[in-house]
Symmetry: C2
Subunit: 169 residues, 2 copies
DNA sequence: AGCAGATACTTGAAGCGTCAAGTATTCGGT
DNA sequence: ACCGAATACTTGACGCTTCAAGTATCTGCT
């Protein structure tokens, strides 16, 4: 067992700031979505993912993976979204165990109404705060981090892409 | 009211990855702390902050601000930590309304036991995943982001400047 | 065919965080 | 000195997430 390699002073400074960002940025996003759209960040992500999907529908397990959440979490969420009429559940025809979540028109409308405000916040808190060079660096850094965070063999359904965070338009 | 400035394809790609990091990295940290030390990331942060403080104690409101949490959240947390014997509450002598949280020896020991594993994870997920150059860039980027997330004069009412927030305009 | 085990999803309980309201105590203008 | 307003913290209820268990369906081995 090796002795712990503590962080250097410089690393600590950087890690402290990173932790703050990891706390404050999601907080701001959650707060805005909650206030303006009565949605969680996870809920918004799920609706947005559905909006980009062919037929505005996805298998539950796919959806959970795409939104980086557990199956249980998604199940509870879809239950709530269903009660609000934003999503509908249908049985999968190719697999009797499965379920597909379908975005309703009301759900799409709600997402479309929420998107502009959310995108504006993302722009003001992130992209407007960084230089173009820093934005590029952020892209590289997050890609590097994800190699450790999203172990290979986890994203089988990366066929789609090209979608938009907000809604098609 | 301006038309929404949507994210470009490049920005979307970067934002998508950033969101994933914002979700997965805290998840990993929380999971490790929960499993190995029965602590939340917030709980760990509070204990760590207390450990560094003079007298291993801090006013509740200071502590909440340093750990980037609300006063209510801290109050609930300290209640739980107190029940486990890791923290003790004392009345502030200079201000009858105030409270100081004090880290007990048991609390310090628990933190000391948890730290090596946590630091090891941080190292492996973040610092080992990035080049030295990227680590420096991460430091600069987080510093830039924090100028928007943690306004310097955020305590009293300082009029907002810099443009459009999401909701208002 | 039949049965064990994997897979897809759901459910209920428990913990944590937020919000709104409540209790003390201190500050500040008159 | 006094009274209303601000401050420091607490409390309770409610919503969301996790964890462990439960149900239903499918798959593969014999």
């Amino acid at each position: 067992m090796e002795p712990t390699r503590w962080l250097t002073d410089g690393e600590q400074e950087i890690w402290r700031r990173t932790l703050a960002v990891l706390t404050l940025l999601p907080n701001e996003l959650e707060g805005q979505l909650q206030r303006d759209a009565d949605l969680t960040r996870f809920g918004y992500g799920v609706l947005a993912t559905l909006a980009e999907a062919p037929g505005r529908s996805r298998r539950m397990s796919e959806l959970a993976a795409l939104a980086n959440g557990s199956q249980s979490r998604l199940s509870h969420l879809v239950g709530r979204l269903e009660r609000r009429g934003w999503v509908r559940r249908e049985r999968a025809d190719d697999d009797g165990r499965g379920c597909v979540a379908v975005l309703t028109d009301a759900g799409y409308a709600h997402l479309a109404a929420a998107a502009p405000g959310h995108v504006a916040l993302v722009r003001s808190l992130v992209f407007d705060a960084l230089t173009p060079t820093q934005v590029t660096q952020l892209g590289e850094i997050t890609a590097a981090l994800l190699t450790r965070l999203a172990p290979p063999g986890d994203c089988p359904a990366s066929s789609d892409h090209g979608g938009s965070t907000a809604d098609g338009r």
